[in-house]
């Protein structure tokens, strides 16, 4: 299409050649119609669904024929193969689709998914493998996307352990920096030793308390150089810290769990992990109050505290921006989260304590973004049902739900030996809100939804990331550069900004470093509060290096397609296929397709809409892929769409 534009432009200089080209195109167009008319239904569908038809006049008949042959010979791997396995033992080096560059392919794929319905795709990166599945419900037109990511920590753990040993002595100061960073993220009221962290890869580093203050200040400005991100033990007395912490907790950002901090810091070595898990649980069970004592961890805390201070200012700013959320939701939620977390973690610890460090953990992220029409949005697929389906896993299910601004999101996490599942579901009645009378608010609502989605991805990405980082031995190398990117990359910032908070950039640096440090469980703690309100300074997930995960891309995808969302929703190909079709016969009265203003010729395939209006199949299909009304009478093609749609 672009080609034709340029043709036409150059045509003003060379009208003759241009005219010729237009004639050629007309010929090809005729050929196209002929070709389409001669296709069997099956072939037509095949080609359409694979976007092989192109635009009339664009390609020659021969080319079309070739495409048809190709698609017939080798059914496309992407299509209809939702069963690709999620690699259990993903290779450490990046495979096919998850290279930095390949994010685009994911995007492309997503785009086609929108058009074509159900698709599955998988990929690997490092010790992660992902599987993305999208489904379009033929009846309702709902779009459902889920992304699962499995992390195999075995490889990473071993490496990490090895590295940790090497690096720990040298890295000490830097390690502190990292830790410090961790704190700011965790301005929570909650108590320190809440959760037993089973899988932490903690390495003990030499404590260097003095540095901490300085470091923390600096960090905001500069990315911490410590790649290893090892927890440091600072030999400071716990009490002063505590005071600090208190102050901190008063800060408007009561989001994070302290527990995490303690955890990440905890002076565990890999070998110890298994054994320690249980004791820690005990701590957690003590509850918030006792937890404050943060028995094993005191020293580290100090450094983090400092950090915290600096950051908390920023977070305050944030909070101002979103005061209602932070205030209203965050506090109660946070506590809930805490307690539940404790339980969950406890359960986990008990179950897994033995398996501990060596178990093959799999983390599955299942993020679903669903579009829902307003009419249907309500009881259907209630959280309860979702929960039920998920909760078979165990009682270790944590479910968080919030509803705000017309959309609802749930976040749940469940665990069962070795498998932890995060589910973040966002239900969005995107379409036709305006019909419901919101009017002008619509676009705003839309914006915020999109942001929600982004955040959703971001959160998961964050969880994912923290996990992968902690388990990924290579993190050391990548961290500084990531930070640099975060700070310097102007592109990234805008992407992150809408998703999270205002003060992104500086926070980002800190956060990022912290991410490196934290482990899975920490990620857990982060998750639920995050979904509550995003007031606290969150890590701008999107600042990750492009290769890290598809989240950033996804976020962009949805953001960029914001405009699309504004546009009419089309029918799915299943819905289109359900419409009746016939061949134009010689006995038919002379008629014209009002889309292409061409008279029907014998043998033309026509599609008849419920309102009895007929069009060329290829004409109306294209319109219906983006619209849902008859081009002549504007009646909805799917009258019962709303009623039918049940996912």
């Amino acid at each position: 299409m672009e080609g034709s534009d340029s043709l036409e432009q150059s045509g003003s200089d060379l009208p003759e050649s241009q005219r010729r080209r237009q004639l050629d195109r007309l010929d090809r167009e005729e050929a196209f119609y002929q070709f389409v008319n001669n296709l069997s239904d099956e072939d037509y569908r095949l080609m359409r669904d694979n976007n092989l038809l192109g635009t009339p006049g664009e390609v020659t008949e021969d080319e079309l024929f070739n495409r048809l042959q190709q698609i017939k010979d080798g059914p496309e791997q992407q299509n209809n193969t939702p069963s690709t396995e999620v690699g259990e033992d993903p290779v450490v080096q990046p495979e096919n689709s998850e290279d930095p560059a390949s994010g685009d392919s994911l995007l492309d794929w997503l785009n086609t998914v929108r058009r074509t319905g159900n698709t599955t795709r998988t990929g690997h990166r490092g010790n992660q493998s992902w599987r993305a599945v999208s489904q379009t419900n033929p009846n309702s037109g709902d779009f459902r996307f889920s992304l699962e990511i499995s992390v195999n920590r075995n490889l990473a753990e071993q490496q990490a352990a090895a590295e940790g040993e090497q690096e720990s002595p040298d890295e000490a100061p830097e390690g502190q920096e990292v830790v410090a960073n961790v704190e700011p993220q965790v301005p929570m009221e909650t108590e320190v030793v809440e959760e037993p962290v089973v899988e932490e890869l903690a390495v003990i580093v030499e404590p260097e308390p003095e540095l901490e203050e300085v470091v923390s200040q600096e960090i905001l400005g500069e990315p911490p150089s410590s790649p290893a991100a090892l927890p440091v033990q600072a030999p400071l007395s716990p009490s002063p810290r505590r005071g600090q912490r208190r102050a901190r907790s008063r800060s408007p950002e009561p989001r994070r769990t302290r527990a995490r901090t303690a955890r990440s810091r905890s002076p565990l070595s890999l070998d110890q992990l298994d054994g320690l898990a249980n004791p820690r649980q005990a701590h957690s069970s003590q509850g918030p109050n006792s937890a404050t004592n943060a028995p094993p961890v005191p020293q580290v805390e100090g450094s983090s505290r400092t950090r915290q201070h600096v950051l908390s200012r920023q977070s305050t700013a944030d909070t101002d921006v979103q005061p209602s959320r932070a205030g209203a939701e965050s506090v109660p939620e946070a506590q809930n989260v805490e307690s539940q977390e404790g339980e969950a973690a406890g359960g986990e610890g008990g179950g897994e304590g033995g398996a501990g460090g060596r178990r093959p953990p799999t983390i599955m992220l299942d993020l679903q973004v669903r579009r829902v029409r307003p009419g249907e949005y309500r009881q259907r697929d209630s959280i309860a049902s979702r929960t039920r389906s998920r909760s078979q896993n165990s009682n270790n299910t944590f479910l968080y739900e919030s509803e705000r601004g017309g959309f609802r999101r749930t976040f749940s996490r469940s665990e069962r030996a070795g498998v932890r599942t995060y589910v973040s579901t966002i239900r969005i009645p995107i379409r036709r809100i305006s019909d419901a009378g919101l009017g002008e608010a619509t676009s705003m609502a839309l914006q915020s939804m999109i942001r929600q989605i982004m955040t959703g991805f971001g959160e998961l990405g964050y969880l994912m990331d923290s996990d992968s980082d902690s388990s990924d031995s290579t993190r050391g190398a990548s961290t500084p550069s990531d930070l640099g990117e975060a700070l310097n990359n102007p592109d990234a910032t805008p992407a992150a900004a809408p998703a999270a908070d205002v003060d992104e950039a500086p926070v980002a640096a800190g956060v990022r470093a912290r991410t490196v440090e934290t482990d899975v469980v920490e990620g857990l703690a982060t998750g639920p509060p995050a979904s509550g309100g995003r007031a606290r300074p969150r890590p701008p997930i999107s600042l990750e290096e492009p290769s890290s995960l598809p989240f950033l891309r996804l976020a962009h995808f949805f953001l960029l397609n914001d405009d699309d969302e504004d546009q009419p929703q089309g029918l799915t190909k299943e819905q289109i296929d359900n419409l009746s079709m016939r061949n134009f016969g010689e006995s038919d009265a002379l008629k014209t397709c009002s889309v292409c203003i061409t008279e029907y010729a014998e043998g033309n395939k026509l599609r008849k809409l419920p309102c009895s209006h007929e069009y060329h199949v290829h004409c109306i299909d294209r319109w219906l892929s983006e619209n849902s009304t008859c081009p002549i009478c504007r009646r909805a093609v799917l009258v019962s769409a709303n009623r039918e749609s049940v996912v």
Binding site: D5, E8, V595, C619
Partner: protein, 194 residues
């Protein structure tokens, strides 16, 4: 391109049986760039004027509506300073009412109708709109004046008038182009005309 053959047919129809008061033609052999003129309707403040429009045919036409804009300045609640038109047939559903069974001729006719009957409840120019609602007298006067200034080919000294008019129009349309660019850049943010 579907649009190529369709446009060919449409242009044929436009030249053989144009709607009353409307002409439309291709510029420079460009399929996707058309010009149209609408004669100001009798009984409207635009009477006696001849209003030029620019029509851009998008790549995905007829699945997307044609883009139309007034080149001749016109004082109208639904047409802004750069000539953009707030008209539902020029937009895709659900906001708009474009459908592929419409065509350029139909849309031009509906714009002609819009000129005769402004829609002050969906204004693009808020001040003109309120003027139209609450001080119609003034509105009529101004609209007539604009018509005289910009859209009327003077009877006396046609040549002269043309000479004067042509550069005039050119400069104004040039202004418009730059204006439009600006505004299109802002477009996503502001949605005046919903």
């Amino acid at each position: 391109m579907q649009r190529t053959s369709r446009l060919k047919r449409e242009l044929q129809m436009l030249s053989t049986e144009p709607p009353p008061g409307i002409t439309c033609w291709q510029t420079d052999e460009q399929v996707d760039d058309l010009r149209a003129q609408i004669v100001g309707g009798t009984g409207t403040p635009y009477e006696g004027g001849l209003f030029s429009l620019e029509i851009k045919i998008p790549e995905r036409y007829p699945f997307e509506p044609p883009k139309m804009r007034f080149l001749t300045p016109i004082y109208h609640p639904n047409i802004d300073n750069s000539g953009r038109i707030c008209h539902d047939a020029l937009k895709l559903p659900p906001k708009g009412a474009w459908k592929p069974s419409l065509n350029i001729s139909a849309v031009l006719s509906s714009i002609q109708l819009l000129m005769a009957e402004p829609n002050p409840d969906d204004p693009l120019m808020a001040d003109i709109s309120s003027e139209f609602k609450y001080n119609k007298q003034l509105f009529m006067e101004k609209a007539r004046k604009w018509t005289q200034e910009h859209a009327v080919q003077r009877n006396t000294g046609v040549m002269e008038g043309n000479k004067e008019n042509t550069p005039d129009q050119k400069s104004s349309s040039r202004k418009r182009e730059s204006l439009t660019e600006q505004q299109e850049a802002e477009e996503p943010a502001k949605k005046t005309c919903l």
